[in-house]
């Protein structure tokens, strides 16, 4: 009984770690840069397919692809913010208008990235198996690749936490999440901070994509599904709260795992029931401020 329970909990955390990673990226983009980035999932897709391509064509270890995908996605995200969203921020009269316009733009970006990826890779399903063998943990069995995924998600989450709390730029990001004007007071170029946030969000998406490709099939149309999960987790955790996103991700994974154990047909319905109930009880998410 205890083993079964542990089993369910850990299985939930394994998936939840992935959700947490995806959501932290979006949390930066939406919580700080105020871009509800519908194209978030496309960066996950790019990370996943690039990792797949490196692994199958050049036999590059998926985990090593991190060193390539992460920085590339960061640069891409940074440039996109500097060119597209910064202009929008200047041209939109109010924050509400900017949120609407930037969402529209991110939809456009989603379409463009997806179509370009289709031209390059085609829509076929891809996959590879890596570290797909059982590991026995005190009677409960888990896939080695999933444990590695969770390890990475936690590692990246922690690194990121220290980055936010210990570095100057990290502190500026946190200040900007509270109040964009405050970051300006700290003597940091707010445009740079926002672009860095967007780039970091993209990089985390790409890394999540790399981890996803180790356990799940990947294809050019996979993005939107993950975007939606990310938005749900961000809202669940509380807007602008990065720890909230992390906890929200784990929680969602856990709930999915528990419900799947009893009735897999309702696993997804359960996500939304919990989500809706939580919003009704606490309208600003788990760690959101009212």
């Amino acid at each position: 009984m205890l083993v079964t329970f542990l089993d369910i909990v850990i299985a939930g955390l394994l998936l939840g770690g992935l959700y947490a990673l995806i959501a932290m990226g979006l949390s930066l983009q939406y919580g700080v840069a105020r871009v509800l980035n519908i194209s978030h999932g496309e960066f996950i897709m790019l990370g996943a397919l690039t990792t797949w391509a490196f692994y199958t064509a050049f036999d590059i270890n998926p985990l090593a692809a991190l060193a390539i995908c992460g920085p590339l996605a960061f640069i891409l995200g940074f440039i996109i913010h500097r060119t597209l969203y910064k202009r929008l921020l200047n041209s939109s009269g109010s924050l509400a208008l900017f949120e609407g316009n930037s969402m529209l733009a991110s939809f456009g970006l989603m379409f463009i990235v997806q179509n370009l990826a289709l031209m390059f890779w085609g829509p076929e399903i891809r996959g590879y198996s890596y570290l797909a063998f059982p590991v026995d943990l005190a009677g409960a069995v888990f896939g080695a690749n999933r444990l590695v995924t969770l390890g990475f998600a936690i590692l990246i989450g922690l690194t990121f936490y220290f980055f936010l709390t210990r570095t100057r730029i990290g502190k500026a990001i946190r200040a900007a999440a509270q109040d964009p004007a405050a970051a300006g007071i700290m003597g940091v170029d707010i445009n740079n901070v926002l672009a860095i946030c967007f780039g970091l969000g993209a990089a985390m998406a790409a890394i999540a994509g790399m981890l996803i490709s180790m356990s799940y099939p990947v294809h050019t149309g996979m993005g939107l599904e993950y975007t939606i999960i990310a938005i749900i987790v961000v809202v669940l955790g509380g807007l602008g709260s990065i720890p909230g996103s992390f906890i929200g991700g784990l929680l969602l994974g856990l709930i999915g795992s528990i419900v799947t154990y009893f009735e897999p047909g309702l696993a997804l319905a359960a996500y939304y029931v919990i989500f809706i109930l939580l919003l009704l009880v606490k309208p600003t998410g788990l760690m959101g401020k009212s």
Binding site: A11, T56, I125, F133, F142
Partner: protein
């Protein structure tokens, strides 16, 4: 036409001249219809984008993209009424994987573009939605991706619709049950996707398995967008069933395979599909695919015609392009269509329909005909396949098998791919 054919997505990058080439491709698509027939215009609404693009692109698309140039290279299809061969011109629209758009575009093809023929949309529910429209306008519709037991009941009221794909009780699961029964399987655990496809397969299995002495000891349905299957695989493992069936799509069958490996769940028979029948299943899992069972319809080892087709479709292409279930059936469907036009000597849909419904044709499958709107099960050259030494062999039915079923399947390889 030739311009457009060259413009597939991947080639497009090589062309590099993005805007101009796209424009040229688009302009060449406007159909010309006149009294003097110069070509046969065929219209299709396909999921080029959206969630169904995955299926559409790897199933019917490579078939028509190979078949049409081949026919056109010979000058086209001879139509007696015009006393000459008419080449085929394709109009393809993107329905974004949305049924509302697909039905609208289908009507556009019929009433506005006035295409000579309609080729099928992709996916079982799309077949359900498109079939009544084609039938209403009296357009012959030979479907590709999609087939279901419930469509059997509809077909008598849809005389213009013909279904090529094999499916659960036509005649895959009876064959699967017999194979497994003979090998001594006693228990089965079934996971199915919560849609028409999954419900029907699990329902038919519920009838056919017990007939062969196989008890179904667990059944679970999963919603299409479920991610983590580990709880279900664990339960299946705990049930100790001889047979594990995953009646779902690649999005679930792939992780189900991966999770089975990760959790060390190695039943005597592991059945999954549609998915196992595709080349990408083998490229993904490599040696781990060994012994996994899926659905099929042919093997190049069966006949010269089958080998020619496989060479035509797959030589020089990545293994991912292979589909050992649907491809020959769709191909046969197109061959029947062509021969029916030639026999009719006209493009009159009603005449062509009567010929397709009543006559027999020589196709890649051998002698082929439709039986009340379904491709006769006697024409199938295989139902169940199994990966053996990196080749997808036909293992059932016995009289068409290219190899004996390996049962129990070998252990998953350890230490990762």
């Amino acid at each position: 036409m030739e311009d457009k054919k060259r413009l597939t997505r991947r080639d497009f990058l090589k062309v590099a001249a993005v805007g101009t080439a796209g424009l040229a491709g688009a302009c060449s698509q406007i159909p010309v219809t006149g009294k003097d027939k110069e070509k046969i215009v065929v219209g299709m609404s396909r999921p080029l984008s959206g969630p169904l693009a995955v299926i559409g692109d790897s199933a019917f698309r490579p078939i028509y993209e190979t078949w049409v140039p081949e026919v056109n290279a010979e000058g086209g299809i001879y139509v007696e009424e015009y006393g000459r061969k008419l080449p085929i011109e394709l109009i393809v629209y993107d329905d974004k994987s949305d049924v509302g758009t697909m039905t609208r575009l289908t009507e556009k093809l019929i009433v506005e573009d006035k295409v000579d023929f309609l080729w099928p949309a992709s996916g079982t529910s799309f077949v359900f939605a498109q079939a009544p429209i084609a039938n209403k306008y009296g357009y012959v519709l030979i479907t590709a991706e999609g087939g279901a037991t419930s469509i059997k009941d509809m077909l008598p009221s849809l005389p213009f619709v013909f279904v090529t794909l094999s499916f659960s009780d036509w005649y895959q699961l009876p064959v699967l049950a017999e194979l497994l029964g003979e090998k001594g399987a006693k228990t089965a655990y079934i996971v199915y996707i919560a849609d028409l496809h999954g419900i029907e397969y699990s329902g038919v299995a519920g009838i056919e398995f017990p007939k062969q002495g196989i008890d179904i000891i667990g059944v679970k349905s999963v919603p299409p967008d479920i991610k983590d299957l580990s709880q279900i695989i664990k339960e299946a493992k705990a049930s100790n069933a001889d047979v594990f069936c995953c009646f779902a799509y690649p999005d679930q069958v792939m992780p189900a395979t991966g999770t089975s490996m990760e959790l060390g769940f190695n039943p005597k028979a592991w059945v999954g599909g549609p998915c196992v029948n595709f080349g990408f299943y083998h490229t993904t899992f490599g040696p781990a695919a060994e012994g996994v069972l899926g659905f099929t319809s042919f093997s190049p080892k069966q006949s010269a015609a089958a080998k020619t087709l496989a060479d035509k479709l797959y030589t020089g292409k990545p293994e991912e392009a292979q589909d050992w279930w649907g491809h020959p059936l769709y191909w046969a469907g197109l061959e029947i269509w062509k021969q029916a036009i030639e026999k009719a000597g006209t493009l009159d849909q009603a005449k062509i329909r009567d010929i397709i419904a009543t006559e027999k044709f020589q196709t890649v499958l051998g002698e082929t005909w439709f039986d009340n709107g379904l491709l006769a099960k006697e024409c199938h050259t295989g139902e169940i396949g199994q990966w053996q030494n990196g080749v997808y062999e036909v293992v059932g039915p016995k009289n068409m098998a290219t190899a004996d079923t390996v049962y129990p399947k070998p252990e998953w390889p350890t230490g990762g791919g």
